[in-house]
Symmetry: C2
Subunit: 174 residues, 2 copies
DNA sequence: TTTGTAGTTCACACCGACGTAAACTTATGA
DNA sequence: TCATAAGTTTACGTCGGTGTGAACTACAAA
């Protein structure tokens, strides 16, 4: 399963472990649901790893069992965008927000010092530039997680064309 | 230096180590260049770490010595976007490209099998969807790395407004 | 030349992420 | 009921990333 390896690694970038990506890809590309044993076998990893990883994927809603029995085979949920958006929101937003808040506090402090005539060891203008950048990143992230990528294969091609067109105009910005 | 920690962690996300982000941020916010000893002291890390990290930053062009002497103090290069774009290109492009090529090969193989009447264990349509997604990701990445973020503080605010406007129309896409 | 200080290099320690083996639990079916 | 197979849990090994200590080098000033 070279495909699962390659796509899996790609997916791993978006806040998942590589094994998650590999399992999801294998299930996504399979015509029929597969048992954990099959998955472990095809990917060449232990059943223990498949068991835990599958449950983590299930918690995120990226994979679901077909049937109710304990050893029901698994299939991939194809509509992954909402989950990715969630991960981005949880993980990145917190990080950016912390940087932004810290910067704001530091700027405020520096402004007070400056207004009382103290010569600063730090550069206020540059602090403001960084603050603008974090705000920009937040806006960007907000738009990203609000995006609705079409779930149907039929409309996906169409959507891709329009989205690409819009993105191109970003490049022409002066 | 809480600011350096917070911003540094944020930067670390873009393919750098956290210490790189912290050092760069400290230098970027300082009114005057700083020696490695000062940096190590302010950040509370060993001079050994600052030495190697500073050189790595220098190789990437994110930081430069002021003066020619061996112990010249360092200052941050503020125009970071080209460097980030480089990292994205090098690191992400390779990953996506590998996924894309592997997928294409797998699809081709599957098509041959199917046309010769063999019933497939894998789902050809889903493979094609994944392929579209990698292509979309490539287009997106290409636009991203070609972006020119203004270097001057004066035009940055203006640019941010326009860019945000464009991004918003992405959200409204159907 | 000597002495002190900044910077460099390298061997090692620590830690978390990832994966395995093996024992254990639960279901299926002869 | 017992045997077998699937799935789960836990304790452990390995590895890479990150950082330190200490020895070493290069330079500046006395």
């Amino acid at each position: 399963m070279h495909v699962a390896d390659a796509v899996g690694e790609f997916i791993a970038w978006w806040g998942f472990k590589a094994i998650h990506g590999r399992i999801w890809t294998l299930l996504a590309l399979s015509s029929n649901p597969r048992s954990q044993a099959e998955v472990a076998d095809l990917l060449g990893v232990s059943r223990a790893l498949v068991s835990t990883a599958t449950h983590e994927l299930h918690e995120r809603g990226l994979v679901r069992p077909v049937g109710a029995s304990r050893q029901a085979p698994w299939t991939a949920v194809m509509d992954v965008w909402p989950v990715i958006a969630d991960v981005l929101r949880d993980r990145e937003w917190i990080m950016i927000e912390r940087a932004r808040v810290t910067l704001e506090a530091a700027i405020e402090e520096a402004e007070i010092l400056e207004s009382s005539g103290v010569s600063l060891e730090f550069d206020l203008d540059r602090m403001r530039v960084l603050l603008s950048l974090t705000e920009m990143a937040q806006r960007f992230l907000r738009i990203l997680v609000a995006l609705r990528v079409p779930r149907s294969i039929a409309s996906l091609g169409d959507w891709l064309v329009k989205a690409t067109g819009l993105l191109s105009s970003l490049r022409r910005l002066r």
